[in-house]
Structure formats: C-alpha cells, structure tokens
Amino acid sequence: MSVKESKSIQQVLFSKRWWILTALILVIFTLWTAEFQEANTTAVLAGTLRHSTPLVLGAMCGLLCERSGVINIGIEGQMLMSAWGGFMIASTSGSLLLGVFAGIVIGMMMGAVLAGISVGLRGDQIIAGTVINIAAIGITSFFFSLGRTLPSGKTQVIKLGPLADIPVAGRVLFSNKPITFLTLLLIPTLWFLLFRTKWGLRTRAVGEHPSAAETVGVSVIGMRYFNVMMGGGVAGLAGAYLSLEAVGSFERGMTNGKGFVALAVMIFGRWNPVGAWGAALLFGYASAVQTQFQFRDWLTNDPQFIGIIPFVVTIVVLAGFVGRARPPASIGQPYSRE
C-alpha cells in the first residue's frame, strides 16, 4: 500500500510562490511608505480592512450557498434588506445589538426565500436571486424614511489593550469595531467547519455530486436549505455592518454593488473562506487607495477616473481568473430524487 506523503512546507511555499511574492511586494511597499508617511499608510491599511469586511462576508455567504450547489446572486439584495431592517430596529429600539441581530435574522429569511424558490420549488437560481435583488431595492426604498437616526450612534471601536498601541499594526488590526472583529473570527472558523467537519464534508459532496451524497444517506434538500439560510445570515451581518458600523444610517441602495463584487471575491478566492479574505483585502486595498486619493485631493481633475479603480480591479481579476477557477460541479441545477 503506497501512502502519499503529505506536502512538505517547501512544496507549499513553492506552489504559492507568486502569491507570496505579491504579498511581499505589497508589504515592502507599505513599510517603505510608512517610513515617511505613517499616518497615510495607517489610513490606507485601516481602510483596506474596513472596505474588505462587507466583501468577505458577502463572499462567505456566496460560498456557503455555492459549496452546497446553489448559486446566490441575491447577496446584494440580502445585504440591502438587512442593512435597512437592522437600522430600523436599532433606530426604533435604541439597541445596536438588537439591530445587528435583526439584520442577521432578516438575512436568514431572505436566504429562506432563495432556498424556497430554488431548492424547494426547483426554480431557476439566477432568477430567484434577481427577484431578491429587485424586491430589496423596492421594499427598502418604499419604507425608507429620511431623518431617522441611531439614538446610540454607530458601533464603537474596541481596543485590545496594549496590542492596540503597536504602531501601524495596532491601529489596523487590534483596534476595530465589533462586527469587524467578528468577521476576522468568522473567516478561520468557516474554513475549519468547511474542511474539517462532517457538515463541511457533506456540504462539499452535495455541491459536487448530489446524487452520490443522497445514496449515502445525506439529505441534499436539507443541506441546501440549511446552507443557503446560514449564508443569508452572513449576508445579513454584512448588511448590518454597512448601516450600523460603517455609516450609522440607512441610505437608498447603500450596498452599491458590494454584493456583486463579493461574488467576484468568492470566485477569486476559489470558494475558500481564507482565499476569499485575501481577495477581499485586494479589493479593499484598491478602494482604500481610491479613498485616499480623493481625500488628499490628488488627481481631482478626474474624480471619476479614481472612482473606477476598484471596478477595474474586479474586471481584471475576473477576466484573468474566472476561467481557471473550478466551481462546485452541481451549481445551478435543481435537485430532485427520482
């Protein structure tokens, strides 16, 4: 019996050399700029994390769904509904915690809608997602009321004791708001769940070959309902982040395409939470640089030009990587047993 040796660290480093090289260049560039402009660098890096948070949450929603075989292009709508609902509850009750909780519950309900149409009724998954997006714009605009505020303000920064005093890294990593910290915890947690637990193994089996999973007694329909609802909850957290942590109020269409960029992040991250985080940081970095340019009044003759940076990154990434990434084999196909 030949037993394959597991990959040595050298092999792993070699196979990922281009990623490591890119990361090194970015780190060196950042340190170099930090030499003479520490405030600037800190702002860009903090901005990177801030911009990446809703993207990686959206991407984790997407991969929860797609790993079990359901395409979710309704992330945008799920986020928007939760941003609105979370804000309304927080504004009425005065409790931010209740608002975040409401955002998650609303996200799960939107997930249930997607699962109901595409898993239960075996409808077209793309259409189901589009329905959610359109409905979310309509509902949130209709019930939108100007002048509402959060009595308690938005969520506050938590400093992790002495860690927060480290130059640059302290402000970027150890002094953040609660949902950002929660997201940083959620990424490795979801990775572990997906690749080390029974649930994860079954999820991946259902997404790749549903009838194989069914013949060993795994309920395909049940797994898909569960995962799509959990994904909705994660998208809901992203929505709550936008209205309760990032902005502190609700605005019409405030998701502004983040749900779609999250899909690109998911693909770029190869349906892996950690990969998605790396991809989200790249997109976040692009957005943060753009913000800094505007803030510093650089190139302000052409503000639109600066504004397209994140989207150019999206196009380049999708054009360059989508073809090579392999999605779960059964996505998009409704499942029936007979």
């Binding site: 037993v3 637990t197 193994l201 089996a205 070959h209 194989a212 999973a213 013949t215 060993v216 795994v218």
Partner: protein, 508 residues
Amino acid sequence: MSSNTLALEATGISKTFGNVIANDQINLEIKKGRIHALLGENGAGKSTLVNILFGLYKADSGTVRVDGKTVDLGRPKDAIDHGIGMVHQHFQLVPVLTVAENIVLGNEPSNKANVVDIESAKEKVRELAETYQLDVDTEAMVEDLPVGTQQRVEILRSLYRKADILILDEPTAVLTPQETDHLLQVLKKLATQGVAIIFITHKLREVLEVADEVTVMRNGQVVGSTTPAETDESGLAEMMVGRSVVLRVAKEEASPDKTVLKVNNLCVHDDRGILAVNDLSLEVRSGEIFGIAGVEGNGQRELVETITGLRNAHTGQILIGDSSITEFSPRQISELGVAHIPEDREKHGLIGAHSVADNLILNRYYKTPFSNNGIRQQKAIADYATEMVEKFDIRTPSIETPSSSLSGGNKQKAIAAREFSHDAKLLVASQPTRGIDVGSIEFVHQQLIQQRDQGLAVLLVSAELDEILSLSDRIGVIYRGSLIVTENSTDLDRNRIGRIMTTGSDST
C-alpha cells in the same frame, strides 16, 4: 454459515413510469452467502427493481422483508440502515474528494464536536482494503482513478457500512476482462463471508461462472429461476429473450460492391490523451454490413467519432470514396454521404428542446427545399416531417412536439428516419438499438438490412453480440483499440468472438 436463510425477500413489487410497466408483480428471494444473478435484456426492469430495493425509487406496490422483517425503504438511508449496499452503474462518488472521504461520507468517524477524524477514516479503509484484497490509495482523488478502481471504492464503501446484502448493477459493463475476473473473485470471497450478493448482468458467461442462483427477467416480469447447474448459455439466453436463442434477422446473402470506407493504420487518442484506437485498419464495401464486436471502452467510440469528424485522428488515414477525410469537418463528411446514428441519442442524436420536424431535417435544414436564401420554408419542412413520421411510424402527438418528450424507441426511429433518408453511401451506426423496445429493435434491424440491399455500406458498432451476429456480413473483433480478427460472420461463432473480445487472443 447457513446458506439457506433468507437475507432479503421481495414480494409483489410493481412500478410504472408513465405508461411503461417497469416491474410487474416481482417476487425475489435472496439467500445469505449466495450470489444471485439477475439476468435480463436492457429494459427488462432489473435496474428498476434494485433501485427500489435500495430506496432510490418507491414501488407502487409490494413488500420487502430483510431478515424476515418487513421494512420501509423510502430513502437510500433506510436501505443502508438495513444493511443493503449498492454499487451503481453510474458511480456515485464525488470526484473532487479523496478515496477515504468518499468511503466515509455520510457516516464519518468524528469526535464530539463533529470534527472528522480523517486519520482514523484512512486507517479503517486500509484495514477493509487489506481484508478483502481491494487495493486502493486512500489519499488519491477519485477523479484521478481509473474506472475499475473507482468501482473498488464503491464496493469498499458498502463494506464500510457493514452491508450484508450487496447489489451490483451491471458491474462488469465498464471493466476490462482482467478487472472482471478480479471482481468475480472478490464477489466469491464476499459470499463465503456470508454476504448476500445481487449481481445484475446480461453476460451469460459471468452468470455461469459465479452465480449460485439465477432469476431471469423479461419485460418487467420474472420469467424463471434456475441454477447454473441446471442450465447452460443457450438455455439462459432463451429464457432471457423468450424465443429461439440467436435472434437472426431474415436476410439475403450480401452482394458487396466497391469499397466505400477504408481505414488505414488509424491511431486516435481518447479524452485523457491515451491511445484508444491503435493501428486499426478496416474496409467496408457498399451493400454489406461490417460489424464491430467488442467490450465497450475498447476504442469503439473514438473510432466512430473519428470517422464522423467529431474527433481528430492522431495518425493514419480514413478514405470515404476517394476523399481522405481526416481533415474534414463533420458537415463536409456528412455531405460526402455519411449518415451517423450516434451512440448517445439524447446527447448527440437529437436536440431535445427542438421539434420533431426540426430534428428530422437537422442534417440538411440549410438546403433546398427546406431553406431558400437562408429563410426557412415552413411548409416544405412540415410536409416532409409529416411524411417521415408516417413512413417510419414515429409515435408523436404532433410534428411540433419537442423531441425530448418522445420515448426512447421513437427517438431512435426519428434519428433513423433522418439518417436513412440521406442519400447516404455509408451509415455509421453505433449501438443503434440500445435501451429500446423489442418492436423498435426489429424495425431498426429491418431498415438496416433493407438499406444494405439497396447498396448502402454499413459500419455497425454494438455491445450486443447477438445484434452483431444476426446483422453483420463481416465481423471485426476489437480489443484495446485494434481489430484482432476480421472474418465473414459465417466463420465466427459466439464463443470464439466472446473469447477474443475478452482476452484479445484467438487461441483456446
């Protein structure tokens, strides 16, 4: 080990799909430690029956008892819980997971927090593999494994679940002769350890070699039970077919004329880049049927695809008439007068969402009278389609019905109608009667003979040896991409062909 206790008993199982009665009051008794062969032609209802036993289909009526207790098999999980395991015809393995992950899926060793203990999973799989001599690499991705090994993984998966009733649905259809022999040994060993085995096949040799008991099915009914000691190949075949052993179609002596298709030293790669057709040469003359006999997967598909222009030749030459066609597109080849009945009618024969009428003109929709300067001529198309539907007895509600809603036999008739009305010089027919009803089979066979008598050259590829024997004027036996023997059909008998196609050698 008592060999007379019943492991499984099915009584009065019936199942209909639409108007088709797949199972009609089936009774079946499976004993512990015995290999029970379930024999029957395609469409006899064998697969339906075992899918019911494994909980994949729900029977309309009937009861199943396992170890004497009536059980409800609503889902595969119920069957697994009652110790029933199944090796599927189309493997139910997740290609991107490892062997160990596939085997433990659904019943994973884990700690209290539901974290999969993959090391203990690998260890258990290795133990099983050793016990039953089913060598596998537990860490290999299933998608990288050859078919025979994937089947081993499926068997191990059932054993991992401690199955004491093991169902194998046509397990040898995809195997090489050596793999088949090894599988039969494994089955015998499992039986001595008390496992009850239900073994589906339509290969008589295998039944006689390993089965303790045989149940024969035809048209959804059990037509008889026997044991290998009481019968022989011709006896089994007669039970299976329901009439005289070799179903010979009435035909005149062939009067072959000039060569239409000439294949010289052809080599072709399969999808994985492995040599599938290896230095193959053959010649088909007008007015004769050249049959290619062989176990599936010995290069037949690649040969047919290369002749019809769907696959590139690696080296060698194909001549149709005087044209060398290895660089031709499928349409150019079609225009030379090559008709093609493809192996997979759903995938390559018909456009399911298009109407019967459009499918009937699929090979010349762009020509007059069906097209005039690029505009479709609806009336000409409708008239032609109506005529064809009548002439070929295609049972369809209307010519506008999507072809996907026709039955298998009628789909095949529609393809035959299109290809036979093609003014063809050469017909390449691959598995022309697979999975269709007896009436349609006879119709297709008669058409093939009739077209031959009118001067068509026919290259017939079929996994059904009876079909090859009854239709062909000359037969080539293919093994691992090469024709081992090419002779007049009168000079070859069933046993000899069977021996060559399974061993690749003509010597006894």
